[in-house]
Amino acid sequence: MIDNHIVATVLVHLFTALAQLLLPKKTVPQMILSIAGCLLSFLLALALFMKVYSGGILTMNAANWDAPFGIVFVADLFSSTMVLLTSVAALAVSIFSAVGVGRARMLFGYFPIFHFLIMGLNGAFLTGDIFNLYVWFEVVIISSFVLLTLGGRIPQLEGAVKYMAMNILASMFFLTGIGILYGITGSLNMADLSLKIAQVEDRSVVNLTAIFFLVGFGIKSAVFPLYFWLPSSYHTPPSAVAAVFGGLLTKLGLYALFRCFTLLFVPDDFAQTVFIIIACATILTGAFGALIRTNIRRVLSYLIVCHIGFVVGGLGLCSKTALLGAVFYLIHDIIVKTNLFLIAGLIRQLRGTMNMGKLGGIYAEYPKISLLIAIVLFSLVGIPPLSGFWPKIYLIEAALMSKSYAFTASVILGSFITLFVVAKLWSEVFWKDAVVDEVIVDNFKPLKTGRKFLMILPIGILASTSLFIGLNAEFIIQVADRIANEMIDTTPYTSAVLGNK
């Protein structure tokens, strides 16, 4: 079935970026284009999601070559959900950028690169071809390099060097894995691979291949002990950029990890054990780090790591409940983490710093904004019935079911530290009086009302999305449940792509 709709979000971002490249010196039209593009892409993503939700998996054979001969794009519920979430996050960040990103950065290609990044993410979620996935990964990586370094401050560059080295290493692992995969199957189409890998007699070769994907995607997802790039770099770029990074980049790694380890390789006992160990260690690592940091974005960076452990654990448990929980967590995390980094940016706008020691008094001065932020913070912790709560039930249930007490304990400890850290953050940043001997640089107050609104609006959009996820958990559970089914039974996927061959 020819359905160009699948790649529509990709194309929208591509053409938005191209249009912006043609207007390099005009920041306001770029802004408008960006928001319009994101809005359009959001609507398209929503339509795609609805279509897939009601009608099942959709495929599109690029260049009209049947799978497995050409590159195929597949919108199953997992990918279309990811695209939808990406679109929501992108829309929010795009609006925030209008105020949150300086003109100088806009003049040097902030917006086009941002759209290329989103395009890359969408492409990566939708592609059904492993090498094409690599290309999308590279689009994402190079865009993130550029966004990370845009501005060229010393900490930015330092972060970028580490970020770059480890991400390129990850790509190397990924590409090596693709090479081996082609060597043993002669194919690149993921559905085709799924069938062909099952037929390979020498399982140890398959397991070896899996390791390369594990390490490659593991680095991207920032799991223990591959996570170092994340806390080295996420505190450096402008907040709008950090928001995209925090919300989406590691999730792409997780998405790929899930795709690969459900469609291509089915984890054996060893792999499951590895995943569980990784998950526990990741949670603890993130928790320890978040506990001791004082810069908001550094804290958030470690919290990202911590919560990635939750999701990876779901993969390690590999039961339906676990996958459901992991997917739900992923959905929740994308929205909340994006929002938190935007909030960090807002805080910086309000006070000129992100150091908890120097912050304070925001609650007294901006009570309503603070309460809005509180919702997001407590969503992150998983205070019921906010969004982070539901997946934890599934994760704990799955962990207890498979007698994985270490993981259960890690989830509890991770949740507890998150709670503590968030409460402390609230108390330090919002409750505490403004620190007396610190000069408060409030760049928010002098803004025009419209621009203030543009800064708050995206946070509000994302917060309401979080609320929607939390209060309408049944719907999200339905979606996650179907996604988990897709992961466990891949026949619909392969037959949708290959036609019942």
Binding site: I2, L18, L21, L22, M60, A62, A63, N64
Partner: protein, 137 residues
Amino acid sequence: MKSPILQSASRYLLPILLLFSVFLLLRGHYYPGGGFVGGLVAAIAFVLHSFAFGTAESMKMLKYKPSAIIPVGLIVAAIAMFLPVLFGLPVMTGLWIEEPIPVVGMIGSALLFDIGVYLVVIGVVLTILFTISLETH
């Protein structure tokens, strides 16, 4: 480091390289070559020129900033990619003019796409090299 010998050499090498790059571009469908290599060779032609005459001189010769070529190339390629959608086909599907044209052979969206690639590569390589060169020297 202006060398008259290099300068005069590059004066005749530049057109040769450019011609050759177009040659590579056009026959890519049949022989080794294509948009990438073509673009790289064309870029090298200008790089050579910049070695001989200085980057500022090369920029002057190009008239447009090399970075302006990038979006043009991308748009050409994107059009080639998007064109089939207008005919109700999946993106990227090859569209062909029925009759082959002498020298080039079959003309189709693939060639348009290759031209886009060619332009992008020129733009990219020159942007990178010229930016660095202008900043440093």
